[in-house]
């Protein structure tokens, strides 16, 4: 997957976790939590969804990389570069 496809993966996960929120205007450089109501359990949902969908094991010490959309995509790119996009 390329960074744009990875961004869409994260966006889809956020839409499931926060179904009441409009995330169409999400700013990639601003922390998720400054733009959305996300608590620690929601954050773990992001980690869990990536684990389930792509078998990515994100160690706890790397959670800090999942702060913004931009940093998340940067972190995930090497993990997902060889993975086919599931988008249809």
């Amino acid at each position: 997957m390329n960074p744009e496809q990875i961004r869409q993966v994260v966006l889809d996960i956020l839409a499931r976790i926060a179904p009441d929120e409009d995330i169409s205007e999400l700013q990639d450089e601003v922390p998720f939590r400054d733009q959305m109501e996300l608590d620690s359990m929601d954050f773990l949902d992001i980690v869990m969804e990536l684990r389930k969908q792509y078998r990515i094991q994100i160690p706890e010490e790397d959670y800090e990389h999942l702060t913004t959309m931009s940093s998340t995509v940067t972190y995930l790119t090497p993990h997902l570069k060889d993975v086919e996009s599931q988008a249809v």
Binding site: R16, P19, D20, E37, M41, M48, K52, Q57
Partner: protein, 419 residues
């Protein structure tokens, strides 16, 4: 005769919120009970294929956001819907209610099986890798979950917990409210029972293995308490919560009073894991009557627990014959024949479905009773059609459960100036 209780020790229902398979508020539910409308439908459950169930259709987004529904449990959503409906019905100005003086007491038959089954299914899709076991599993399965979700939704900071009492739980929730209000532990109770049981395959499978899962080509005829051709339980979901207050508080604010809880009892068979005992049921009814200062002949309507199992119905009929032998005019009915067995909600739903009798003077029937089992012979049964009673003053509600738990609640019509 004992001195009458002061108003501060008399406990009344002031608001009702419910969801049943045939109605999402008291008016709808009552209408269905008087019109003979069932809520039992064909239903698919994991691994078992088609079964029958009582399925609720309340709008879970009426009082919750999508995220809250996703985060919580079905039992939590049922409880939140019923609690909000009860508060709306109570006429209380919620913004002015001290939230630390509100107690939430919810009866449950079981809790957590739905979530555990879901997680086991989920990890089975990942070669049983426990790393995909949800971090939501623990908060969803702690036994206080349905009551706790109500406090989160409504900002209640007083006590909350569930009461595990098998299928006697709905009555147990009300009894807990009476006790806590009398003790001064809270000033307003939100109490009753809930059940999400139809979302676990295990309850269907276990009743099937026990030979106690109802089947019928017409789902609406599957739940047949006291009928010779009954063949078991129809599992249902549901919820019934009330605002419960001291009479002194209810009167001070001019509340609508649905009825006064004048007697209750809980006892144990100490005999068998599943088979009931009419001796202890008889004692339980008599204890509740005694505490209420009432005779059997004072009771106008008996709402039975009967679930359409072979032995359960026979035992309860035997207990009723003994207690109400000299009471030909009492109306004996059954709500499970309409909606199936709503487990933790059953006792509460069945009682509340009868409360409108105080005003409409009708006793709803037990339906699907085409061939009365001679072993369940009760001359006072209201069979298939509602009965016009005229004045109704007292309702006795039976609710029994596995491990031999029996519960009885007696509610009296409240009349201004009466005792």
């Amino acid at each position: 005769m004992e001195a009458p209780l002061p108003d501060s020790q008399r406990i009344v229902f002031t608001g009702i919120g419910l969801t049943a398979p045939n109605g999402d508020n008291l008016a709808e539910f009552r209408g269905a009970l008087l019109e003979g409308r069932s809520g039992v439908v064909d239903y698919e459950t994991r691994y078992m294929g088609p079964v029958l169930a009582g399925v609720c259709n309340f709008d879970d987004l009426k009082y919750q956001k999508r995220k809250e529904v996703r985060r919580g449990t079905r039992a939590g959503s049922v409880a939140i819907y019923c609690a909000n409906e009860a508060l709306a019905d109570s006429g209380l100005d919620w913004s002015g209610v001290p939230k630390d003086r509100v107690g939430v007491y919810i009866g449950i038959t079981e809790h957590g099986n739905v979530e555990t089954e879901n997680e086991i299914y989920e990890i089975s899709q990942f070669q049983y890798d426990t790393k995909v076991w949800s971090h939501h599993h623990n908060p969803r399965t702690v036994a206080n979950n349905p009551a706790g979700e109500v406090t989160l939704n409504l900002g209640i900071t007083g006590p909350h917990y569930t009461i595990g009492a098998a299928c006697a739980a709905g009555n147990a929730g009300f009894i807990q409210a009476v006790q806590m209000l009398r003790l001064g532990e809270c000033d307003l109770a939100i109490a009753g029972g809930v059940s999400e049981s139809i979302h676990t395959f295990g309850i269907f499978a276990s009743f099937q293995s026990q030979g106690a899962l109802a089947r019928h080509e017409d789902p609406t005829k599957a739940s047949r308490p006291f009928d010779t051709n009954r063949n078991g339980i129809v599992v249902a979901e549901g919820g019934a919560l009330c605002t419960v207050e001291r009479l002194s508080d209810a009167r001070a604010r001019g509340a609508t009073i649905y009825g006064e809880i004048v007697g209750y009892a809980i006892n144990s068979d100490a005999k068998d894991f599943v088979l009931p005992s009419h001796e202890r049921q008889t004692e339980c009814m008599r204890l509740a009557l005694s505490r209420a200062g009432l005779q059997p002949s004072d009771i106008d309507i008996v709402s039975t627990h009967a679930t359409a199992t072979e032995q359960g119905d026979i035992e309860e009929a035997a207990a009723l014959r003994e207690v109400f032998a000299g009471c030909p005019d009492v109306a004996i009915n059954n709500a499970k024949s309409f909606i199936g067995h709503a487990m933790g909600a059953a006792g509460a739903l069945e009682l509340l479905g009868n409360l409108p009798s105080f005003h409409d003077g009708m006793a709803h029937a037990t339906i699907n009773l085409d061939d009365l089992d001679p072993a369940c012979e009760l001359g006072q049964l209201v069979i298939n059609e509602p009965r016009r009673m005229g004045e109704v003053s007292c309702i006795l509600n039976n609710s029994f459960g596995m491990l031999g738990i029996n519960s009885v609640v007696i509610v009296k019509k409240y009349e201004e100036g009466g005792e």
